[in-house]
């Protein structure tokens, strides 16, 4: 469960806010819930490693919005930590996190997770393909002694 939950929370956090909101509105769900933690925006310090592999150092912060909520029907809790400052994005991510732990999971998977996953893969594939087209093919010129 933890592994699956990590996967969907990551997908929901990485997705563009406007897509999360549009897809959620398309599902048309408005479950009753109460806040365990109201949406708030803060900073998270990003760390890097010296030489890419060594000791950690602090690079700078990133804006993150978080919230937690409880579904009224079953009391399931949903959490969200989402890059950026969109409270609505965080709220939807937390609602989705809660619903995905209930028997409504299938609706959220097909209506929200699957399209986000496909779009992320397409976005990544497009940029990877453009990068691949800029890969250098070296060739050796005919040298004097070969002629």
């Amino acid at each position: 469960m933890t592994k699956k939950r990590q996967t969907w929370m990551g997908l929901l956090a990485r997705a563009p806010s406007e897509r999360v909101i549009a897809l959620w509105d398309g599902i048309g769900k408005a479950p009753e819930f109460s806040w365990a933690r109201m949406p708030e925006t803060g900073g998270v310090m990003v760390r890097g490693r010296m030489g890419g592999t060594g000791d950690a150092f602090n690079m700078g912060e990133v804006t993150v919005t978080r919230c937690a909520l409880r579904l009224e029907t079953c009391g399931t809790t949903g959490h969200a930590y989402v890059q950026g400052r969109s409270r609505r994005h965080a709220e939807i991510a937390a609602l989705a996190d809660a619903l995905l732990q209930t028997d409504e999971a299938a609706t959220i998977e097909t209506g929200l997770l699957d399209p986000l996953q496909r779009e992320e893969e397409a976005r990544r594939a497009r940029r990877a393909a453009k990068a691949a087209a800029t890969k250098v093919d070296f060739f050796t010129m005919v040298r004097g002694e070969d002629a």
Partner: protein
């Protein structure tokens, strides 16, 4: 006597209203949107994020708009905003080995696993003004695409490391010091230096890095690898008891391979400099790696040549353009009282000097 004065409120209000009007420019010209700045001035946005020390492209775009394109002013706005944010915690260190590289070049190895990927670079352009951009035209043709694995590519230093040709990085998982939480104290360790450098002024670091190339603490750097791309940021969430990815950022990483260190007992090895910066910011990342390497003279047992780039106090105390501009620009603000005392002082000294001269010029007559 200290005399407090008030005044200027009306003038200040009017100045700010005029600033707003000038910021907008000719109203016949369409207004810039934040999305336009974010998408079309992306490298300015990246610079503001890296030196503002806050990764948020929309906020950086807003700061650039508000500052009329004055990037240091924009960085100032981001730094000020940053201080209002509650700190939720820290990410796990990003794994640049897992980066989805959009650019990855090595100046040391021609044929390396993963290849040389140029990415969207200014390199090899002719640096001639392109007047086609002056005419509003259609969007450019989409760039070519090719088959290729999007998988992670290994770091160049790993190959050298395998043969023991380059020093390896220590890894002890200690919590690194944070100069936004505790004042910078010298001597600083490398973690603190790297934090200071990655948010430092690009121009200042470029000048220092260039000085090392010209011979002030030369360390003969090769760009072992320069890579740009997206990495996931992952954070441990205490209330959940596990880590989740909270987003994704683009970073630029530069690893330099520098001249050797060795002794009678230890065979010589290449040494390393490291640059890691938010966004596509390669000039800054290369500069950072060169300055990082120069600052490591003590731990590598090198001679202190007295070069500026080796002087930790000099580099770290002057790399921050917000500290620098704060102190520099404050001298244009009213210093009437300070100056009044200077005026009084110089008048007094002049009066004494004049009295002395007058006395001197009378002396010869008296002698006659």
């Amino acid at each position: 006597m200290y005399v407090a004065v008030k005044g200027g409120e009306k003038a200040i209000d009017n100045a700010h209203a005029w600033l707003a009007e000038e910021r907008r420019g000719d109203p016949q010209v369409p207004e810039l949107s934040l999305a336009q700045i974010r998408e079309q001035m992306a490298l300015a946005v990246n610079r503001v994020m890296s030196e503002g020390s806050l990764y948020d492209p929309d906020l950086a775009a807003l700061a650039i708009k508000q500052s009329r394109g004055d990037l240091i002013e924009a960085i100032f706005l981001i730094r000020a905003y940053r201080t209002t944010l509650p700190r939720f915690g820290a990410t796990r260190p990003i794994e640049t080995g897992e980066m989805r590289c959009e650019r990855r070049v090595s100046a040391t190895f021609k044929d390396l696993p993963g290849g040389q990927i140029l990415g969207p670079t200014f390199d090899y352009t002719h640096r001639l003004l392109d007047f086609k951009l002056a005419a509003e035209g259609e969007a450019p043709q989409p760039a070519e695409e090719a088959e290729g694995s999007a998988g992670p590519v290994p770091h160049v230093t790993e190959f050298l490391n395998r043969d023991g040709l380059i020093e390896s990085e220590a890894r002890d998982e200690a919590v690194p010091p944070d100069l936004t939480r505790a004042p910078l104290e010298l001597p600083a360790n490398r973690a603190l230096r790297l934090q200071s450098l990655t948010r430092g002024d690009e121009g200042f670091l470029l000048g220092l890095a260039y000085s090392t190339q010209r011979g002030y603490a030369r360390n003969h750097a090769f760009v072992g690898e320069l890579r740009i791309g997206a990495v996931a940021i992952e954070m441990d969430i205490p209330e959940l008891g596990f880590a989740v990815e909270i987003g994704e950022i683009t970073v630029t990483e530069c690893e330099t391979v520098n001249q050797f260190k060795g002794s009678k007992t230890e065979p010589p090895q290449f040494t390393r400099g490291y640059g890691l910066v938010f966004g596509q910011t390669e000039r800054k990342a290369i500069s950072m790696a060169l300055v990082d390497r120069a600052l490591r003279w003590r731990e590598l047992g090198e001679e202190n040549q007295g070069a500026p780039a080796q002087d930790e106090e000099f580099v770290l105390s002057h790399a921050d353009n917000i500290q620098a501009t704060g102190f520099l620009e404050h001298i244009k603000l009213p210093h009437y009282v300070d100056f009044q005392s200077e005026l009084e002082l110089i008048r007094k000294i002049r009066a004494e000097a004049e009295a002395y001269q007058a006395a001197q010029s009378k002396t010869p007559e008296a002698a006659e």
